[in-house]
């Protein structure tokens, strides 16, 4: 195996183009495990951390562009991100231990394409967009469209994610992410739910995105859940309709971490609770 650490996107793309089967390394918290267990035996590892911008969080068009190698710890310490997208920050912060947070990245969580990835429903709810570079140039793809199924992404050979854009936060809007795990820390989501919503001055929902994780082969954006609360205050009736829409949209499997019936139920419960938190944040309350 060879190791290369190019200093520009162009060099990285050229290096990857010349080595089919090469793997991209950012935080390495998934890649190194697969490498060590010989699940993969690549001829080449391309470390993208030396490329300018990969480790930066930069303001862009009122939102934030997060480089592909920015760690969870760096995201959690960033005041601007915490103020604008607390749900995404909390979701990223749930991944692994303090040690894993020191290296793990949003782009890596997305490219690992686990159905249970914590940051992905939060990013989908936020309307995040991945910037992908590759031999055909640069393209932007909504985060919802990046995973295709367990371990599968829409990235073509030689492509990698260079950054993720969290868009400008609209006025009176807030987001939240909650997951269910049977313990308090260091576990894989049985169900995850990200909610991002905006309110008018009377507290009625004017925009909403609700995304579920770990209840299907990939993240699910539940349009019916957003429609269920549109134009309504987040009262008991609206929240019940939201929960019902999420339970209905979930397509989970039975496995050792949860049954279909349990996951469907929890999808609704988490959506309701996340919407309450997002709603409070939209009103400027601490939540």
């Amino acid at each position: 195996m060879r190791y290369e650490a190019p200093s520009s996107v162009e060099d990285a793309v050229a290096t990857l183009a010349g080595a089919p089967g090469a793997h991209v390394l950012a935080g390495g918290t998934d890649l190194l495990v697969r490498l060590r267990s010989e699940m993969i035996e690549p001829d080449l590892i391309v470390d993208i951390k030396r490329i300018k911008g990969m480790r930066e969080i930069a303001p862009e068009a009122g939102g934030w562009r997060i480089g592909a190698a920015v760690s969870g710890a760096e995201i959690g310490e960033h005041e601007g991100l915490r103020a604008d997208w607390p749900g995404v920050v909390e979701a990223a912060g749930l991944i692994g231990s303090t040690q894993v947070q020191g290296r793990a990245t949003l782009a890596g969580n997305l490219c690992n394409a686990s159905p249970a990835a914590d940051s992905v429903p939060a990013m989908v709810a936020a309307g995040a967009v991945a910037r992908i570079v590759g031999p055909e140039g640069t393209r932007d793809l909504a985060v919802i469209d990046v995973p295709k199924g367990p371990g599968k992404t829409a990235l073509a050979r030689g492509e990698f994610i260079a950054s993720i854009l969290l868009p400008a936060k609209a006025p009176r809007s807030g987001d939240a992410y909650l997951r269910f795990i049977p313990r308090t820390e260091m576990d894989i989501a049985v169900v995850g739910c990200g909610v991002s919503l905006s309110l008018d001055e009377e507290g009625r929902v004017t925009a909403a995105r609700v995304a579920l994780g770990a209840v299907g082969p990939k993240v699910i954006l539940v349009d019916a859940a957003a429609e269920a609360i549109m134009g309504r205050a987040l009262d008991e009736a609206a929240l019940s309709d939201l929960a019902a829409a999420c339970s209905k949209a979930a397509t989970p499997i039975d496995d050792k971490r949860g049954t279909v019936a349990f996951r469907r139920h929890v999808a609704g419960v988490l959506a309701r609770r996340a919407a309450v938190i997002a709603g409070a944040r939209a009103k400027g309350e601490q939540a």
Binding site: L25, V33, A73, T98
Partner: protein
């Protein structure tokens, strides 16, 4: 296969080493540099026995390639004591018997030091969450948590 030449600073000393592309930072520390205080538990980032800091950030050295350390500043358990003078956490772990077999101890000390540098007055909950990635199969954690909290209190009084 040519080995990769890496220049780093480890525990304050400029250090150069050669490594294979596959070698983890943990492999390099233990097998190339003889810094065997850093332990391998799981090799998959779950147990924290291989904890070190890289540019001030707590990481599992089993989840990082040695080649990635180029230009980085690394601190291991060997850098914790100042000569013969143990770090307050090390003294307290001995005093309060916050270890049994000792395999997890270097990683826990490195992780706890990293916590106290960021937060000199952590709550018990904060200590428990910070150390959630450091597994101990002997102690039941209680003595470890109390030793970290006690050290934090001592260090606050001393400063």
């Amino acid at each position: 296969m040519s080995r990769i030449h890496v220049t780093t600073k480890i525990n304050g000393d400029a250090t150069e080493f050669l490594c294979e592309a596959e070698a983890t930072l943990l492999d390099v520390l233990r097998d190339e540099l003889g810094l065997t205080g850093t332990k391998e538990g799981c090799g998959t980032g779950d147990c924290g026995a291989c904890s070190v800091t890289v540019d001030g950030r707590l990481v599992c050295s089993c989840l990082m390639l040695g080649a990635e350390a180029e230009g980085c500043e690394i601190t291991t358990i060997e850098g914790m004591a100042a000569g013969d003078q143990l770090h307050p956490l090390q003294k307290k772990f001995i005093e309060m018997a916050a270890l049994q077999c000792g395999i997890c101890t270097p990683g826990i000390l490195v992780a706890a030091k990293s916590l106290l540098e960021r937060n000199p007055d952590p709550s018990e909950e904060e200590v428990r969450y910070w150390l959630a990635g450091n597994l101990c199969r002997c102690t039941g954690y209680d003595k470890i948590i109390r030793a970290v909290l006690d050290t934090a209190a001592d260090m606050r009084r001393a400063s």
